[in-house]
């Protein structure tokens, strides 16, 4: 048999873990990984935290690579621009065409920018995002004591960068359309407590409002909010969520409305039919997880690239080696999402999908909401998620109780 080639589009955590898992399964063919950044895969969560304190280099953040996966072909700074899923080729931005036997879409997400006119959307103009190491280095230089920082968005990144900027001595205003910080994963009680703790640290929130204008010409000098408030700013951080990097897959009948829609084996669906040998992993994979329900979800937690990378590698290796493929595809996979967040002294750890809870399904399981606690998130009778503030060992003890969904149990007994 001639040597097979797996092309991995995206040199982040998902691409790396998929490649390592393919080698762990014994795949001996060529693995080529294309990335749009110059850096080898590195850990992104510190970018909104430690990396802004000036202590972090790429060397410190780079992922270790398993000793069994040192023969990967890394093509960094060499992004993929297009694909032909019938001819089994990808086209690089340079114009080069590369053929594959299996393709892994691991291109991740980009930081979303507000489509509002104003100074250029660049760090040099004071408008920052945090997605890449270079973004963090650029922001770090601006977070000087007394700097007036406006954070747009109050999700994970917005809250973390607000906390970090306060600890660096900046004046911090946080603007969000939501009613409370991190309300979607946390629910109102815990989100209100998180807001209180940020305010005790000096963060000023402007919630339930949007942005109507950036002020300044070459450089941002402030923002105008939808309630008429004007905030002066030396630094604006746009932490407004993400945009999936999937344009390179356009034109083949894939469902790209929110990432790449796949089946439970992470095979891309073309007009509803699974494409053998084409997988999506990481932030862009939208797949059904029977632990919760049959709806496909896209989850941007740190645990997902590793879990999806392993699943995709298992499926692709079976496909390429023609070994137990049908069985492996049919074996349901139900990895448990997990996230953590560090803000000031607050250490948050979650398992499951707390955002799926019923509005009245959020209950204190342990501890004290104003101190350390574990909150449980229920949908009907099902515990769909837990979030701990502190109490790490206690919240870890709930991990195995999250899921399995009622419909699974009913299906098993019917």
């Amino acid at each position: 048999m001639t040597s097979q080639r797996v092309v991995i589009a995206g040199a982040g955590l998902g691409g790396l873990r998929t490649a390592e898992a393919l080698r762990a399964h014994g795949f001996e063919g060529e693995i080529v990984i294309f990335g749009d950044e110059a850096h080898a895969p590195y850990n992104r969560p510190p970018l909104s935290k430690e990396a802004l304190y000036g202590e972090i280099s790429h060397e410190k953040l780079a992922f270790r690579v398993r000793s069994t996966a040192t023969d990967l072909t890394w093509r960094l700074n060499d992004p993929i621009a297009g694909s032909d899923l019938d001819a089994h080729t990808v086209t690089l931005a340079s114009g080069e065409v590369v053929s594959y036997d299996a393709l892994v879409a691991a291109t991740g997400v980009s930081a979303r920018r507000l489509p509002i006119p104003g100074p250029p959307a660049t760090a040099a103009a004071g408008r920052h995002v945090i997605r890449t190491l270079d973004d963090a280095f650029a922001l770090r230089a601006s977070l000087t004591p007394g700097a007036r920082v406006v954070v747009l968005g109050a999700g994970f990144i917005g809250c973390e960068v607000a906390a970090t900027a306060r600890q660096l001595g900046c004046e911090v205003h946080c603007v969000a359309i939501d009613s409370h910080p991190m309300i979607r994963p946390l629910g109102i009680e815990l989100a209100a407590e998180l807001q209180r703790r940020h305010e005790a640290q000096g963060v000023v929130f402007h919630l339930g409002v949007g942005l109507t204008a950036f002020e300044g010409d070459d450089r941002v000098t402030g923002v105008v909010l939808s309630d008429g408030t004007e905030l002066a700013a030396d630094v604006v951080v746009e932490a407004l969520g993400s945009r999936c990097n999937v344009e390179w897959l356009d034109g083949h009948g894939l469902d790209l409305t929110d990432g790449v829609l796949t089946d439970n084996a992470l095979r891309a669906l073309r007009d509803g039919v699974a494409l053998d040998g084409v997988a999506a992993v990481g932030d862009i994979a939208r797949y059904p997880n029977p632990r919760f329900d049959q709806r496909p979800w896209r989850v941007e937690h740190w645990s997902i690239p590793t879990d999806t990378g392993r699943r995709a590698a298992t499926v692709l290796n079976a496909y390429l080696s023609e070994t137990d493929y049908a069985d492996i595809v049919a074996t349901e996979w139900d990895a448990l999402p997990a996230f953590w967040s560090d803000q000031y002294e607050i250490r948050m750890q979650s398992y499951g999908m707390p955002g799926l809870a019923d509005a009245d399904g959020i209950r204190l399981l342990e501890g004290d909401l104003h101190g350390e606690c574990v909150m449980g998130y229920h949908r009907g009778e099902d515990l769909v998620g837990v979030v701990g503030i502190g109490m790490l060992k206690v919240v870890n003890g709930y991990r195995h109780e999250v899921g399995t969904a009622t419909w699974i149990r009913e299906r098993a007994t019917s």
Binding site: W302, W340, R399
Partner: protein, 65 residues
């Protein structure tokens, strides 16, 4: 040389994700601090300790050998 697990305790923040991946090797003590129970696990544990190193949020675990 056999397998060796090294945790940089200056980096470790006691997330405890490694405990789920390799409970025979890692444990959180009563104070919630990470303890490496078996520093030189048997070769049969390789996959589990590699998985444990993968899931460490702060990448504090290295595998030698």
């Amino acid at each position: 040389m056999g397998l060796k697990v090294v945790v940089d305790m200056n980096v470790c923040q006691d997330h405890g994700q490694c405990v789920f991946a390799a409970p025979e090797v890692f444990e959180l003590d009563d104070n919630g601090r990470l303890v490496v129970m078996v520093e030189e696990p048997d070769e049969s544990m390789r996959s589990a300790v590699e998985d444990a190193a993968d899931v460490c949020p702060v990448q504090a675990i290295t595998i030698e050998g």
